[in-house]
Symmetry: C2
Subunit: 318 residues, 2 copies
């Protein structure tokens, strides 16, 4: 490591830059404003916190560490970036609680008929017809977690507390304390057939594009509920609409779509039993604070030459 | 116990009457239809399953055991009934899962801004403005369970899984495995002051009428969220509306109201940050089946002279 390190911090928070500076008085910090005024400074940076596009990363020839403020890597990892001696770290973990809360919120809104009750409240009339006799109970149902990482593990824990049976699908097949049965990729159809409710938290990688296609919707239980907070492109939108229209899929609760943002007039808006929230399941009132905390911990480790946390596997893409 | 027992079974399900009969061939069963044709048969019954009014219980002078299909006793226990050698059992326990699911559904709908997202979905426009930046996170918040019985215990368990801090209030003060701190009745204001979210599951008894009045709303944290699935009369409706209007109370999520049903034009319908569902939080697709199971178990015990389960404490009223 050279004696003087130069880091780009793409945050508008002067307090963060101050806190970073206190970790090392010799640290050279380049702010967003400075980079805007002098884009060539990219070639001088050793590290960066915040989002850099592919072209910017290509220009930052000295970049050795990039800390993202997001969990998703979203196609940043080109063959060139894979080949480079560049460590990418992300903000995974801070999404586990908000996304789990969002998924159970969407799910319970449908199973407890709360959307209909919300509409009726506005009319100001006490009318329980078709509500209580149409609820579904989570207890006793099978929750299938598609992609058991930090978010999936948190959701599995909550599912168990709701007295659900929890199954999971994970590339490594490694067991998890809150997952009653873990399936591997070659057992995807068995996993889908076992699940009453599927929480899809797959990241966007080359392998997960269109992961849920026509054959996968065929493999699901009739009336299954699909929740997607991973990436829209992991689901074949046309196949999902067909499954909703045939009734094979009971409901689709989506925080992500493909295309995204979903354009006006797209048939997914009006497909039966769809509820879309505009990609904010990871939103969290203390998001920046917690992402900054991961960055500062990694900056400390970086300056001390210690191994970083939240390192992205560039081969797997997450 | 006399050799021949007569029981009234107020269920329209012939299968249930058949199952009851198999427990004892000498059991005399009176159906709803038979009782309607011959109301005087009340005086001959030893036991009953289903709802009997106060007057009917008074007429059923030989009644020794009444199994309710509900959890609430709703003013059935008059001084006369208290004095009688009559055991009342209820269906408590089967409400724990549906009511817990309902309460967390209502709560997450508000904290994740899902009601607004639901309204926007209908317009078919992708618009995240004012949603993600206004969410609240359950994780780290304090959940206060007002009345820790079967329902409260289940809710405490789910709250812990969501990484909440859980406090409870219980007459006996007895600890609970999922409650981090249990308060007693004389500490009601401390309990309220500690809670970000209050789940009120108090039963309707003489002691709980208007339990949450002006002083209790004053004692709450500013912006607290109150959920009520117990009985409407445990909350002073006027005091609650005032607390909502002043902003002291952040939201009221109500499955029960006082008066109930809430009449058209009542100011509670339009008070700020209120969401009312028309008393169906206990609804459950297999409700009758599970209530019948408790009844059949108690019938077996009754015929065998064994102690019954789910016995109501006539002094406490639940």
């Amino acid at each position: 490591m050279r004696e003087t390190q130069t880091i780009f911090i793409g945050s508008g928070d002067p307090g963060l830059i101050e806190r970073a500076q206190t970790l090392s008085p010799t640290l050279q910090i380049i702010s967003s404003r400075q980079l805007k005024e002098n884009p060539e400074a990219l070639s001088t940076i050793d590290a960066a916190y915040g989002w850099l596009g592919k072209d910017q990363v290509a220009q930052a020839t000295g970049l050795r560490w990039l800390q993202l403020a997001s969990a998703g890597v979203n196609g940043l990892i080109t063959p060139e970036i894979k080949a480079r001696d560049l460590i990418i770290t992300n903000a995974r973990g801070i999404h586990a609680e908000p996304i789990t809360e969002h998924m159970f919120g969407m799910l319970l809104m449908i199973t407890r008929r709360l959307g209909e009750a919300w509409d009726r409240h506005k009319i100001g009339k006490w009318n329980g017809e078709g509500l209580g006799d149409r609820v579904l109970l989570l207890a006793g149902k099978t929750l299938g977690i598609l992609g058991v990482g930090a978010i999936g593990g948190q959701s599995a824990k909550v599912g168990k507390a709701f007295d659900m049976h929890v199954v999971g699908l994970r590339r490594t097949g490694e067991p998890h304390e809150y997952v009653d049965r873990m399936y591997t990729l070659d057992q995807t159809h068995e996993f889908l057939a076992a699940s009453d409710i599927i929480m899809n938290i797959l990241p966007k990688t080359e392998k997960t594009m269109g992961f849920l296609g026509p054959k996968e919707f065929d493999a699901m239980k009739p009336g299954a509920i699909l929740i997607n907070t991973g990436r829209g492109s992991t689901v074949d939108t046309g196949a999902m609409i067909a499954a909703l229209q045939s009734g094979k899929l009971g409901a689709a609760l989506l925080d992500v779509t493909d295309p995204e943002p979903l354009p006006e007039g797209h048939p997914l808006w009006t497909a039966p039993n769809v509820f879309i929230t505009p990609h904010y399941s990871g939103a969290h009132p203390e998001y920046d604070e917690r992402a900054d905390k991961i960055f500062l911990e990694n900056l400390r480790r970086y300056l001390a030459g210690e191994p970083l946390i939240n390192v992205v596997d560039k081969e797997e893409g997450y």
